[in-house]
Symmetry: C2
Amino acid sequence: MALVVQKYGGTSVADIDKIKNTVAKRIIGSRKKGDDLVVVLSAMAGVTDQLVDLAKKVIPAPEGREYDVLVSTGEQVSIALLAMSLEALGQKARSYLGHQVKINTDASFSRARILCIDTKAIKADLEKGRVVIVAGFQGVDEEGNITTLGRGGSDTTAVAIAASLCADRCEIYTDVEGVFSADPGVCSKSRKLNRIAYDEMLEMASLGAKVLHSRSVELAKKYHIPLYVRSTFSDNLGTLVTEESKDMESNVVSGVTYNKSEAKITIRGVPDKPGVAAKIFSALSGANIVVDMILQNVGEKNLTDLTFTVLKNDCKQALKLINPVIKKLGAKDATVDQDISKVSIVGVGMRSNAGIASRMFTALAKEGINMMMISTSEIKISCVISSKYTELAVRVLHDTFNLSEEGTPE
Amino acid sequence: MALVVQKYGGTSVADIDKIKNTVAKRIIGSRKKGDDLVVVLSAMAGVTDQLVDLAKKVIPAPEGREYDVLVSTGEQVSIALLAMSLEALGQKARSYLGHQVKINTDASFSRARILCIDTKAIKADLEKGRVVIVAGFQGVDEEGNITTLGRGGSDTTAVAIAASLCADRCEIYTDVEGVFSADPGVCSKSRKLNRIAYDEMLEMASLGAKVLHSRSVELAKKYHIPLYVRSTFSDNLGTLVTEESKDMESNVVSGVTYNKSEAKITIRGVPDKPGVAAKIFSALSGANIVVDMILQNVGEKNLTDLTFTVLKNDCKQALKLINPVIKKLGAKDATVDQDISKVSIVGVGMRSNAGIASRMFTALAKEGINMMMISTSEIKISCVISSKYTELAVRVLHDTFNLSEEGTPE
């Protein structure tokens, strides 16, 4: 008998039929195997978007306390419907909202972080043979205000609960078969990975593979929770996200990702002296704008060009914040390029293999794809390129590193 | 400066335009007059029905803990949208869910009763100049479960908060101009009442006038809260529901109501001995089925016929419960008549005026309308008639008691 946390995404609970006939039956199947179950749900597909659209009719850029009150209702609907479905099938169940569990978070509305989870009520229900159903994406701050964890936050709810309960594993059910070597919609030769290291998954999640919320992978890594990404609609095993092991290095690169959600801002004619970059970036971080890649070109006459990327959504506000700083510093101007994308290769095998970067750059150059920015870590290399080349670049890199061939054993 | 509780119904918050441009602006107008405001909201029109429909796709007769989790989301959406709208207009505001206030109720899901309300947080917010927005219809039980008060329960939330805060008045905003002498859709000569006594309103609410939730009127009476029923969409004063006063008696009858939601059950051949009725009705009350009117006919050979009315929705279950009792008692059978309606006249003036009943019965008889059951109190007379005569009966009684003429002074 294992203690398992299962998380079902929006497409898995898209309508009553899926809730009753797919998710509820899968849960009852797991119970019959003797497992204790905590189930975390997202909102029904499309519901959160509808709520966001409602809010946008009130104010163009909704945020803050009331926004979280609004958008947290989606999960409240799905957990109630699943609990009713399970009870109707004879399986005892009970739904929990963030504040009922309680899932304590900080007070950063719409991007809250989980601080701790009270597992008393969950454990008592499990002992009574109930399936415990928890609303994903939401928590409660110290003052009792509803908070949300940001889009995709239900993955994080699931892993955090698994960690708090010392669960045997956490299963993330979605509408794809697992984690792929590249987006199958872009690269037809892409292959489902059987296993992937936490660090690789972390890079892939933050680099644009939408299958898992980054924070959920961080937590799984920190608390050593085996994380399965699998399809709600099949019995295939999916991908196991787990500790790094020797055999994972047989493929130097595990996957290729791309991300079109960023824009590039270039500040020209910045005085090249200490403290200048700090002034610019502290203006942005003060507004919670995340800067991804940063590049500083050497310029002439003690002037330099500073280039960085931010989310397209943050671009307008970023410009508003840096324009007064530019004036003060005596820099020339700021220009924006929205037509970029970031293409990355990821793999723990890079640690022990030289020459990966040059193979990547050569492959891109051969197709005439220019790299505007490069960023590397121990296990990934990212390039910013013109967005029109995105799909081509993904396919070329997938071929270059032979990703359609099985490397990791089952 | 007064402390006012305002409640806006579903049609008042039917869409973003009404929330932003009607309700929010009305609230800001009240604030400008210097009033402190607590605002209670219903769900946007139609939303609760949609949620109920979802639940019915899971089980035909949804109820219980999870049902309340589901249907309470409607108000959560509307309070968040109003709070955002007020903030966008520069008026500080904060939304509260039942468990955040807290509105403590008993644990009777879907028909919970408010036990007490913690006003600490509300008072602190009012002192800070905030408009406090509270989700109607919902509360929380001792264990932290979400409860709901039954359809129309937001009126009760508003009056209970007004009572707890010792508010100067409670204003119920709706899509009609106030309480009418009869349903204007049925009786074109019906007149808006300027004032009505709590007891009259109580009778009218329980007799089918849908303008106020009965429990809300009980609370207003108990705590002497002046209750205004007015239109969200006009500046007319509406109807004041208040203490009974001498001048209210100038019209012996204040209003005519009708109710088509009940069915009549007749048990024939019941042994006429003590304890028999108790056995039948305790079977029903055990299942929380409310019996309205009861009539016992004298029969022959120590046998009697027992007739009573229940909600049409409860009819099927009622039969299921009484059939075994009938068998045990040796009664003949139970028959159901769904095609009935209850037409009633209400007025505190009846207390000091004789002959009202005979005027009512004569008027109905003149139109050939047969009365199947009669029930009276100090201030109302109800008749069960064939439902096809409902509208005719309402118009005849409205004419008979001259209800289109002004009786109560402004």
